[in-house]
């Protein structure tokens, strides 16, 4: 599909928080975008196009913010577009920006995603008010139960994921939750909000934004810092409800992952990929996606959690950043996964840097686990081949 390589040369994010009272909605977005430009040592003039993503507009009650944010994003007189794929939107937004570079339409594209959840009520925003507030947790809880039943996973797997991600977040200065004293006991004893999910096994509600600058090979050569090369991109979707649907392992997720592996020449994801940032808003989704994307075999996802493989120093670290469980400005959450994967292969993740991260997978999902977006990034264009 791609006619030329694309690379990430600038990454910026805000400090994610419960409430950002000090900035306007465009000000929040601008902060991340400016940091991405600074990281790439570029100015607003250098950007050819802007691709913006966020979750449904009822979250903040600002309709079509892509129009009013044009000035905040220096997009006057430039192409600007908005992407909309529910919770996976951060990922698909980054992919649209990537494709604009790969196809040679633009040389340097700024991509931005955000949510300022403190301005509204995310539970209502998700449901459009119609579900009476069942929310995402209410939709996903029975599917997590199904996974537990099918796989025979012990109950403490969810608790372990929750503790791991929160302790990883303490190594990431941008992460929202900083729960350095979290323990398995604390997770287990926190109230059950959607069985099997306890309070501490759920994502928070955050204000935050993230941005990246993407460019072609020529632009990457001029970049001041090491680029992260995009090795593969994929998006897949399916209906959220249909007879016979496999809710635990949606087919769109399986196909999306295999599209990535095929593009990048990966035959054994667990060995050939060094780490992953997966969209895990509820603890059980870590083993579910490890299996749902064929990184682990059936029933083996939870074992990777149990034996510590997904810890930051494990054989296949997952969500070294602290993940969605620690930071969730919904529209931005997918792009944070993509940006964190890029940070890792650039070797710039600081205290949460995974050792020898040459090839990293990022994934975002949305809706009723019906939209999937993924990319694979590497420190070299031939990073996968070099691992063989």
């Amino acid at each position: 599909m791609s006619s030329q390589p694309a690379a990430v040369i600038g990454i910026g994010q805000t400090k994610h928080k419960k409430r950002r009272d000090d900035v306007s909605l465009p000000g929040l977005v601008r902060e991340a975008a400016q940091r991405a430009l600074d990281d790439a040592e570029l100015t607003w003039k250098d950007i050819d196009a802007v691709v913006l993503g966020k979750a449904p507009d009822p979250f903040e009650g600002v309709m079509m913010p892509e129009l009013s944010m044009a000035d905040a994003l220096g997009a006057n007189g430039k192409p600007m577009m908005r992407v909309h794929t529910a919770g996976s939107v951060g990922g698909s937004t980054a992919l649209v920006a990537t494709h604009l570079v790969q196809t040679g339409v633009h040389d340097r594209v700024l991509t931005v995603a955000y949510e300022k959840q403190a301005e509204g009520n995310a539970q209502w925003g998700l449901a459009g008010g119609r579900s009476g507030g069942m929310g995402a947790g209410g939709i996903f809880a029975p599917w997590m139960r199904s996974y537990i039943k099918q796989s025979g996973a012990p109950e403490d797997i969810g608790w372990k994921v929750a503790v791991k991600d929160r302790l990883n977040a303490c190594k990431n200065p941008y992460a929202h939750l900083q729960l350095k004293d979290i323990t398995i006991e604390a997770v287990k004893e926190s109230p059950v909000i959607w069985d099997p999910i306890h309070f501490h096994e759920s994502c928070p509600s955050s204000d935050g934004a993230v941005a990246m600058v993407l460019t072609n090979e020529k632009g990457a050569k001029k970049a001041p810092r090491k680029p992260a090369w995009v090795l593969a991109t994929a998006m897949r979707s399916e209906l959220g409800v249909f007879p016979g649907r496999n809710n635990v392992r949606p087919q769109a997720g399986v196909e999306c992952a295999h599209m990535i592996y095929d593009q990048a020449g990966i035959t054994n994801p667990r060995e050939q990929i060094d780490m992953a940032e997966l969209y895990v808003p509820f603890s059980w989704y870590e083993p579910m996606w490890l299996e749902g994307h064929d990184i682990a075999g059936p029933g083996e996802g939870w074992q990777m959690v149990a034996d510590g493989s997904t810890e930051i120093d494990g054989s296949f670290p997952v969500n070294a950043s602290g993940g969605v469980l620690s930071t969730n400005p919904i529209g931005a959450s997918g792009m944070i996964r993509f940006a964190e994967a890029a940070l890792q292969v650039r070797g710039e993740a600081g205290e949460h840097q995974v050792k020898d991260a040459h090839v990293a997978l990022a994934q975002a999902y949305g809706g009723s686990a019906q939209y999937f977006a993924m990319w694979l990034v590497g420190d070299e264009l031939d990073a996968v081949a070099k691992k063989k």
């Binding site: 909605l25 997009a75 006057n76």
Partner: protein, 154 residues
């Protein structure tokens, strides 16, 4: 408001349920200055990179996209109507409860137009190029409706 009616019984029962769903809005440093000015009975603009005064103020330069410093400028209270439309039948959400004009007003000292309501009494009193001035409410709260405009005397 939802109504729930139970049928098939001797007595109809009715229950009401009101969903309250407020949004909040953070203003940031520039809009805060503008609306704080409203509360204090002042109209505030900001200086753009090219020296032009923008009112209502923007957070970023509309031409270059650069961040604007805190270069606030007091403008008005008088200004010139550059274009307008007469509202014959105001709705409850409109700033005035009688016929009025929505007008683009270039305030004295500003280079851009502020859209606001002009209480001219009748459409015959409205014209492009006419001068208007701010009429402040007594109980101001830092809201855009703290002010309306009236034709300048004389």
């Amino acid at each position: 408001m939802f109504y729930c009616r139970v049928v098939g019984e001797s007595q109809e029962r009715l229950t009401t349920h009101t969903i309250d769903f407020p949004y909040t809005r953070t203003l940031g440093p520039v809009f805060s200055e503008f609306l704080t000015g409203m509360r204090d009975g002042k109209l505030v603009g900001i200086k753009g990179r090219d020296g032009k005064v923008i009112c209502p103020p923007t957070e970023w330069d509309p031409e270059t996209g650069d961040a604007l410093g805190n270069d606030f400028v007091e403008v008005g209270p008088g200004g010139v109507v550059t274009t307008w439309a007469w509202v014959t039948e105001p709705t409850p959400k409109h700033p005035l409860d009688k016929p009025f004009a929505f007008a683009l007003i270039q305030l004295d000292g500003a280079d851009t137009g502020l859209m606001h309501a002009v209480d001219a009494g009748s459409i015959d009193k409205m014209s492009t190029g006419m001068r208007v001035t701010a009429r402040w409410k007594d109980d101001r709260i830092g809201h855009i409706t703290d002010v309306t405009f009236v034709p300048e005397a004389g």
